[in-house]
Amino acid sequence: MDGAHDMGGVAWSGPVRPEPNEPPFHAEWESRVFAITLAMATPGGWNIDMSRFARENRPPEDYLSKSYYEIWLAGLEQLMLERQLIAADEIAAGKSLHAAKPVARILTADNVEATLRRGGPTEREPARPALFAAGDRIRAKDIHPPTHTRLPHYVRGHIGRIERVLGCHVFPDSNAMGAGEDPQWLYTVTFEARELWPDATDPNLTVSVDAWEPYLERA
């Protein structure tokens, strides 16, 4: 979906502001939201693409007015509401009002280390050969799917080159919708700055994205 999260190249006032000696969390609630979000994926059964979409699929004014972990909280509440793990009246009341929905398993403390260690590798056995090879000239399609996608707007319609073939990976556009992993070939695609930014002044800049095959066409 086109949304405020897709920020590459957007005109934005103000500098980047590094914070010296920044702590991992700036308030206790941030650390709890972080941990609850990770832990609830076990009983909730959602994948990383679903959780990204839940955070991003919101009106720009909402996305831009929330802090990072406020967006995580909103995404978490939405994922749980969609699966009837919690009800809106419970969130409003701040207490449990209904019986719990049975879940297959939860993340227990003794499983944390192994779960983090395992992570979620996304590479899969390819079902067919890759369409493109390193050096191929391609165009990123000018597509605007209403659902989840990982093709940033600033490369759409632009010509680049395949730099590396990264293997076959879970396709977020499908996985986010619960439509299966539908693994697709993934490529590092490199663009010259002057192709992306007509007003660019730096001739020595190249930008790459990692793009799945359905995002690309031969040029």
Partner: protein
């Protein structure tokens, strides 16, 4: 910082409201049997105390001192990093990109906040912020300026936008004047920002 010297009282009261909301949510989910609070504590402790940029610094220092490791790291970052014990969530597929006198690498996730957790920990606020995500793909030299850094005009800049599940770690250049240094001492020179590409390693004179 206490509430008395907090510069934004308005923000502060909002934080308190959110704090109450999150506490209520956690107790609802625990009561329903979905959460083990001890698991939450362990998750937080892991990313507050165990997983952070010191991990990445060890990887960099090893690459600076061991040519065979350096070669393995560039060829298969995930496996070489796992040799030092770092692996897993948000580091399932790691690509290491090396800075040279002619090329400087910078890493971003313009769409969200993708970042190589096992070697750098959780991303800082600026990395997730709109100014960084919007600007670095178009004006990386301006971003470097925001960090007080400058590169020669002739240096090529390569920005890696982490749009898939490949995570990028920058291998910065080893500072001059560190010949014969131990891996441990070299690791002290490696800053988090130098592994994102928004900074350089410390110079030998900057550490005790």
């Amino acid at each position: 910082m206490t509430s008395h010297d907090h510069p934004h009282d308005h923000d502060h009261s909002e934080l308190s409201e959110t704090d109450l909301r999150v506490r209520a949510l956690e107790s609802i989910l625990t009561e329903k049997g979905y959460l083990d609070p001890a698991a939450l504590d362990l998750l937080i402790e892991t990313y507050e105390t165990k997983v952070g940029p010191r991990n990445g610094a060890r990887v960099v220092a090893r690459a600076w001192t061991d040519p065979a490791y350096h070669a393995r790291l560039l060829k298969d970052g995930t496996s070489a990093i796992a040799e030092l014990g770092y692996a897993g969530r948000q580091g399932e597929h790691i690509q290491v990109v090396e800075n040279t006198p002619s090329q400087h690498n910078m890493v971003v996730c313009t769409l969200c906040s993708c970042y190589p957790w096992p070697v750098l920990g959780l991303p800082p606020v600026w990395y997730k912020s709109a100014p960084y995500r919007s600007k670095v793909v178009k004006d990386p030299r301006g971003v470097l300026g925001d960090f007080g850094c400058e590169l020669p005009e002739t240096t090529n800049i390569r920005v890696w936008d982490s749009t898939a599940e490949i995570r990028y770690l920058v291998l910065p250049m080893r500072p001059a004047g560190t010949e014969g240094w131990s891996e441990e001492r070299l690791a002290e020179l490696v800053t988090r920002d130098s592994m994102i590409g928004t900074g350089f390693p410390k110079q030998p004179r900057e550490i005790p």
